[in-house]
Symmetry: C2
Subunit: 345 residues, 2 copies
């Protein structure tokens, strides 16, 4: 089969690799219908996160089950399924506490020795607990498939950020970052009942999408000026809930500074760069909550909202390329020409 | 009147200063019956926190109201009262949200221009909202007075740390630091229903007191070895709730590393030294919550527990000196000869 690999920074290839196959009794094989490129994939692309030469890429995909191991009980070949960004055993203490991201038997697609989502097929460990079945008729609905694909990462991660920050009715919310996670966080904050949602970003098309998703104000300044603007929008206080959805030191400290005393910062951007402003956290009694999103745990909440039309995150995708041209997708996202690119094998 | 001042590191004096008096209509004057020295006072003592020459010291005191301004309605001269570590207006949005530590009209005793608790009397702004009345008959009960004095800071701060960390029935708790705040955090964690409480410290008398307050295990190692020991005590996982009650970088990172995925660190030690281990926080989805304790907000919860005998924090005091000898108290605490020293004017 064909799959995306990385050999060195900016050297993305589509290569022939061994076919995905059942190796453990709980495995399933999923033929990928749709995958996409994540902002965190760009860290590998740019060499900011180390990868071994030839390592697979991609942790977002949905597709059709083509084979199952003898212990798989809830899925059958032909089922349409979504995979969250990591597999998990479903039975450990962390999985039962809705923190599958801490599963000791878990892992993220594309880790050494595993298949990546940006390929023709994926071997899925612990298929019963990892995969979530989708309605069969979704397969013929392009918009719906796109929306469902966001359950793999960006929607679940944005939702986790909004939950972690304490977005709720009556709370003011700031979202730092206008990438796909930030936009999904806006949507999630709205879904959680927040009425005043400020997006911090600079890209006009993304800010427009943020507004469509529920943002009530946009702040295009950066750094101290952005913090000042958020405070002005909130009677001088800052927001109850800040969402850091960029993963940079500047975004983190902007999120902290834009939060009012007693508020919380939800962070889902992996730590990059210089340290947190801990003095500000301490003096203002601001809670820091989040981390790698337990996306699998949020699918049962989010899937019904997509299916019933309450939310439609599909517009986060603004481009599609075939698997063989995936290097173009990386380039377009790296230059911020595209927000998030779909891959069709 | 006499009051404690600091002129440079290690230069603690008791000097004649202008008498505390009513200056604003909401002020009260409190004649100090008991004060004490806090671990954070030692930062000023050692020159780690800047002070202006002649600045007052002490933020923990209880005493008797001797004068009130015309707008004070809930107190009368003769009332026995406890003051929390900071004054607050009781009417701002933060005070009404139980976060008086963020009151824009608030301040900490000993700040430039205010009286300190380590003196004969203190002018108390916003007396109605700042002070809490105590039963008159407590004045004749030495043990009870000592216990009540802990409401000024260490008990409320330890309780805030335990709450922030999520101490609760079924949760395992680690307390990093065997100072008075750490010991009070042990007591608070127990009060909140935690059954497994590990104290991390090295001082035998303090560990004994921790056990008396509810600790079920003690870890005397430091750094990685301490983390390993906590994990061994918790089935390899780490604790649900870690309390950082020392204010050092090492204590903070030990608290983080000793916490299990999805757990929380309650921090009440002001940030000192090198940065937080944010990667560990992120990867393990650990919440960081706390900050300057809103001690005033916790008095209504804690005072009745002291009065009905549910808790008795009075043993955190292991020495008493007269105001004129307060330099000895600083020295004894700085050398860890004393845990916490009472001051009687």
């Amino acid at each position: 089969m064909r799959a995306t690999t990385i050999h060195s920074p900016y050297d993305i290839r589509v290569e022939h690799v061994p076919d995905a196959s059942v190796r453990q009794p709980g495995d399933a094989v999923v033929q990928v219908l749709r995958a996409c490129v994540c902002g965190t994939d760009l860290w590998a692309y740019r060499g900011e996160s180390a990868r071994q030469p030839g390592q697979r890429l991609g942790h977002e995909f949905l597709g059709t089950v083509t084979d199952i191991g003898p212990e798989v009980t809830s899925l059958r070949p032909g089922d349409l399924v979504i995979a969250p960004l990591s597999w998990s055993d479903g039975s450990c203490v962390y999985c039962t506490e809705d923190l599958p991201s801490a599963c000791p038997n878990g892992g993220i697609w594309g880790a050494v020795g595993s298949d990546g989502g940006q390929g023709e097929a994926v071997r899925v460990p612990y298929a019963d607990s990892t995969l979530v079945q989708l309605p069969a008729d979704a397969a013929s609905d392009d918009r719906l498939l796109n929306a469902l694909l966001t359950l793999a990462d960006v929607l679940g991660t944005g939702y986790h950020a909004a939950l972690s920050a304490g977005a709720r009715p009556g709370a003011s919310v700031a979202v730092v970052g206008d990438g796909a996670v930030g936009l999904c966080a806006v949507m999630a904050a709205r879904m959680l009942g927040a009425e005043n949602i400020v997006i911090l970003g600079r890209h006009p098309a993304r800010l427009e999408l943020a507004q469509k998703f529920g943002a009530t104000a946009a702040v295009t300044e950066r750094g101290d000026a952005a913090v000042e603007a958020v405070r002005e929008l909130t009677g001088g206080h800052g927001v109850h809930a800040s969402i850091e959805a960029a993963g940079t030191a500047e975004a983190r400290n902007t999120a902290i500074a834009a939060t009012r005393p007693g508020g919380a910062v939800g962070w889902v951007g992996a730590p990059h760069g210089s340290p947190l402003d801990t003095a500000m956290l301490f003096i203002r009694s601001i809670t820091l909550r989040g981390g790698i999103a337990p996306v699998r745990a949020h699918i049962p909440t989010l899937l019904p909202r997509i299916l019933d039309g309450t939310i439609d995150p599909s517009p986060v995708f603004d481009g599609t390329v075939a698997l063989d041209a995936i290097a173009d997708a990386y380039q377009a996202m790296n230059t911020r020409t595209s927000l998030k690119v779909l891959i069709t094998p």
